[in-house]
Each structure stands twice: as C-alpha cells, then as structure tokens.
Symmetry: C2
Subunit: 259 residues, 2 copies
C-alpha cells in the first residue's frame, strides 16, 4: 500500500514547502523508500529546491492533461536522486483551476492510480489558496499534515480548510484523514507560543486530529538551508532542528511499518 | 492628490498584511490623514484585524460589481475609527478572478476614481498569487511596496512580479512606480541576513528600485500584536520595532508633503 501525504494549509508562508522537503528527504534518504514528491503550487518553490537550475522535464500539468494509462516505467517522473522522484510544477498549472468538467477534481487521483505501486510513499506540497488544485490534492490524498505557525493568520483559515475537507470527504474521498497539526517556526517561551498552543487545541477539536509531539522552533538554520536550496539534513546534520525533524518524521511515518 | 500604495509580493507569509496594518495605522493615527485601506486578499486577514468580529458591511466585491458613479458621502466605505475607513474582503472576491471582460483589470481603478478625493492616502493589501485581482491592484496603484523576508522563497517570485508590473505598465498604468523593497522579519547578524542583503541588491537592479533604510528585524512582538489583532503602536508603543515602523513610515510617506 502506498500512502499519499498532502501538506496543506492555504495560508502562504506557514511552512508547507519546508515541511514537504524535510519529509521527502527523510522518506527517500533516511528510510530508503521509493518516494515521489509532487509540487501542486504553481510558484514552484519545492521544484526549484529539488531541481535547482535543471529544467522541469516531467511536469504535473502535462501529466494531468495526458493522464498516461500505462506505467511505461519510471519515465513519467523526473529523478532527483536515489529513491527520490518528482512531478514538478510550472505556471501552466494555473490552467487546472480553469477546468470545470464534473470530474476535474479527480484528475490527480486518476492520473496517479496506475503509477502508485512504483512508490512506497507520495508527498504532495499544497497550494496557497483553495482552488480546483486543492480539490485535486485532497481527492488524491490519504492523510493531510497541516503546518501552523505563530501569529493568528495561519490559524484563521483553518475553518475554511475544515469546510473544504468535509466537502471532499462527502464527494470524493470519505477516508481522507487529517494526520495532525505541525507547529512550525514557533518562538520558544513567548506569548505567541502559549497562544498557538491554545489555538492548536481548539483546532484539534475542530479538525478532529492531534498536534504532533515534535514542535519546530524558530531557528535561522531553516532559512539558511532554504537559501542554500537543500534539506536541513544535508545543510547541517548536527543541528538540533535536524533531530527534531527526524523525530517528527518517525512520528509521521509510524504507521507505515517500513522495514 | 491622493496617492495609492499597493503592498505586494505574491509569496504568502512575507509580511504584506502586517506592513499594510502598520502603514495604515501610521497614516490615520500618527499623521492624522484620511486613510482608506482596501483588502484585496480573499482570505481577509487585514479585514479581520481591523474589524474584529464585526460584520463586513461594505465589501470590495460588491463595490467592484456596483461601481457607484457618485460619491454619496463616505457611506461607500466602512469606518474603522477616526480617520480610518476600509473596503473589506470576503470570499466572493474570488469571483473577480473569473471576470474576463477586456476592461476587467481596470475595475478597481475605475470604481475608486469618484471617491479618491475623500482620502489623503489609499493603502491596498495585496494578493498571495498573480491573478486578475493583482492586475486590478497594479492598475489602480501609484506606488508598490514589496516586503521580502529571509529564505529564498519570497525572493524567487520577484522575476514574476517584475514581469507582471511591466505588463501592467505597458497596458494600463505607465506611471506605476516600485517605491521600494522592505526587508521584513529578518534575523539579525545571520547568514540569512547577509544573503537577503545580497539578494535585495540584485532585486533592486531587476526592479529598478531601492531598499528602504529601515529593516524590520524578527521579534516575537509582531506575532503577539497579530494574535491580539491590533497594530504594534497600540500593542506596545515603547517597543523598538514600533520605532522602526515609525521611521519606515516617515520614509515611505516622505514625498507626501503632509502638514
């Protein structure tokens, strides 16, 4: 069974891409599992991080438009490195938001179906707004991870996220689970930390989920790794935040039974 | 002359709303000028900050759809408090992105035209994606302020922003000026600070603009004020970051000749 993880909170700047990178890096290179990452954000930050200046050869928009019916080997995806493959994003992806066929929200799920067996895990980096692409993301996913950070703006939209998930469950994907809330970029021992902890509890009730035990505290190393364009494990393995991400990934993937 | 300031960088979480709040608060309550704020982001975070739990009575979508031809007094806008008025955002605003008439990018500019004389300054909080709303924002603006923060993601999209601004200049608004880049949420004395300073220089060449002298450094007070839902001046007037914002606003509004 391949599990599809969606990283989503429609507020921009809450850590979706950073989280997707760390989780994908862990799955492919620490757990040594065949991993596919999909970038659903037309601005393509995840794509640029994994591909650098390389051209996007296998992009999500083309994949969704063509929906190849047979697996034709691994060539449908772009190899990043050992164990890690991707479907990159391009600006054309905005075109998906113009699709209005009744089955438009199922494009991603149907396109992935013949290829899922090739991977142990699929990780999808989400969108900064609720659009047709978000429908596709949730229709294709098994579990959603919701990054939240301080300030109230990344929390304000959670009621909308809950509405969206309820809608997708009713229409297309009854088993969609909210895997957990991830507290990210939190300043330790501040009013904001207390406030976000309280907000998180309220959100857990609303979303019927839990907060992950491992909190990612604010550290400049995350920005430095982002500027260097590499996962934190490669940027500074010995840094505490790398250990936090490793423990977090153990938590996230606990149910996978990977051997 | 009323100057229209747009706060825009299509990356989410780079500080657009925080910047808009501080600037509007300064204009209305420190400089005592008649100020209109417009929330162009359908997620409505600025609106929630200024209106709290109050209902949005005068929303931007309705205003754009009706485009009242006469000023009918100040009733077209919602009064926040002395000197400060707003056009709030609602989710309906996404409907503007579906408009495809040839003059759809000019809706905001034309709708504002009969009302501009009522205000000394108009501040528009931008969108997290480049859409029809962004065209409207740039077509209506005189000056654009671009917040940038650490990590490379808020910088990566600047080439797209430049393309968009060039397009709008050519089509609708030849005098649109990029007022400056605002370095926001920067960690002092870190690699990220060095990197962002270097990136900012490159961006200034690209965008033919300057970096504002006042940099907003990372402080938890900004998050605390955000959670409290009030401008920093009201939250903690004595804090250094409030003084930084005051100096920044002096810089931003220098050319206004306010008396």
């Amino acid at each position: 069974m391949t599990t599809v993880y969606a990283i989503e909170n429609q507020k921009g700047g809450c850590g979706k891409t950073t989280t997707s990178i760390q989780i994908a890096d862990y799955a492919a290179h620490v757990a040594n599992k065949k991993t596919l990452v999909i970038d659903v954000d037309p601005s393509g930050n995840l794509t640029k991080t994994f591909l650098g200046t390389e051209v996007v050869k296998r992009d999500l928009f083309t994949f969704l438009m063509n929906r190849p019916k047979s697996t034709e080997g691994i060539d449908a995806f772009q190899k990043v490195d050992e164990n890690l493959y991707m479907l990159g994003s391009t600006k054309q992806l905005n075109g998906i938001n113009m699709q209005s066929d009744f089955d438009a929200p199922l494009m991603l799920r149907e396109a992935l179906e013949p290829f899922k067996w090739l991977f142990d895990v699929i990780i999808i980096d989400g969108c900064p707004e609720i659009t047709q692409l978000t429908h596709n993301l949730f229709a294709a996913a098994d579990k959603v991870i919701v990054p939240m950070n301080p300030g109230s703006y990344s929390v304000m939209g959670l009621a909308d996220l809950q509405n969206e998930i309820s809608f997708v469950r009713k229409m297309y994907n009854p088993n969609l689970k909210i895997h957990g809330l991830l507290l990210s970029n939190i300043d330790k021992n501040t009013k904001a930390e207390q406030a976000i902890n309280e907000m998180a509890k309220t959100c857990c009730d609303l979303l019927d989920t839990k907060v992950f035990d491992n909190t990612v505290y604010h550290t400049t190393v995350i920005n430095d790794a982002q500027i260097a364009g590499i996962p934190i494990r490669k940027y500074k393995k010995s840094h505490k935040v790398n250990m936090v991400y490793t423990e977090l990934c153990n938590e996230i993937f606990k149910e996978e039974g990977w051997k």
